[in-house]
Amino acid sequence: MNEALRAGIGLRAIHHREVIARGPAVGWFEAHSENYFARGGSPREVLVGVRRNYPLSLHGVGLSIGSTDPLDATHLAEIVRLTRELEPMLVSEHLCWGSVGGRFTNDLLPLPYTEEALSHMVSRVSQAQDALGRQMLIENVSSYLQFEHSQIDEWDFLAELARQSGCGLLLDVNNVYVSAMNHGLDALRFLNGIPHEAVREMHLAGHSIHTVGGREIRIDTHSAPVCDDVWSLYSAALERFGPVPTLIEWDSEIPALDVLVEEAHKADRALETHHARAA
């Protein structure tokens, strides 16, 4: 099996030493770009070391690509520099915004799904891809609210963004599930609305359930194992999109490296089942 078609895991600071010392049996690593903007020092050295031994994906969480402020040229230049230096297999950002008027929430905020927002995102993604000189993937986010004036379904918005900008899609299966549950949407309908050929990567993660104002809401905390419903939805996604590079994300209350590796192996078994069936 191609290495990138075995599941990967997120590269997190608390595992740096162990990853370098042990070289865990995972297909690839994904790094949050912002964590490696440093020009020197040990985190950077670790990332270069990981890149020598594994395929790498650079995943941005701070570009605020959907903001109506001018695109942050310095931030983008850092992503371009890292990309040129490390030549990752994939570079991704989110369908979101996180700042306006110079104030940053450092969060992944939902956009209204309107024609205006679509044309704004198409132009911003194109700008970023032009700077990178390559395709970027855009990931769907978990959301806890929808805007009154949204007129386009999220899956159609993603499909149009991919078609008009030429970007690929990073389908976060957990985010599809979380948003579907929070907004009473049909997760399978979401998957079926995403163009088959646009999906280049998938994310799997854990979320948590909270009660707010007497109502249950799912929050994308990346703090737990992938839940059974999301594993089922992942099978459905593999069925539709084929075996694309899949990542286990775990960013808070991060467990021992072996726990992440075991989650990745679980995803490998789903990928293998799909392969066996496709063969």
Partner: protein, 260 residues
Amino acid sequence: MPALRELQLAFVASMFDESDAVRAHVREEGMSAEARLGIYRNNLREGFIKALALGFPVIERLGGTDYFRQRALEYLAAHPSRSGNLHYIGAQFAPFLARKFAGTQYAYFADVAALEWAYQEAQVAADADALSPEAFANVAAEDYERLTFEFHPACHFVQSRYPIVKIWRANQPETLSDEVIDLDAGGDNVLVLRTPECVELHRLPAARFALFDALNRGEDLGTALERGEALESGFDFGAALRHLVELRILTTLRVPALST
């Protein structure tokens, strides 16, 4: 229908300024718009506190978790993040604490925070090769006082009237201690530097600190030596310069041409 920019400005105002202008644009769907926005406000606050605590673990331990959370929220209100890179959120924390606690028993928090910020900056600074001792071989004796240097980008100089290194060490996971530290036991002149292995804190005698700090700010060797001599009679600058070279923190040496 609000324009995208108008919506985003209203949304961010509801995150930072208690404004409710964005509420009208949020679908209620079984949960109030305010409760939905509250989830994002909570994410923002918790994410900010967590990121700040990662950078300032000593301040968090000195004040305790609840105390730190309160200070972090006040700091968030005064200095919202200005970058998509969370590294920078701590840049104004030490000056913020200095203003808040000036003249109180907590005045030393600002200096400890300045040390922790220097530590964070040292961790992410660029790599650079140290100047080899041979670089001095070709310097003519009469040129010495006009020499200027560049320091390794990870070097930072932090000065405090409090024993901040002792405080810092007593609050590290590896060297945790509940020892009572006398705040008036004398201050620290700290050089923060990075070796290939880790970031190190070096306490320097006042005169040596003044010399190194002046050189780091671009003063020539003659002027910088005078700063050392002003602080210590019989200042042994030969020993100080040997120490400077041994620390391997100089990266460039320049002999400016004489102006005629």
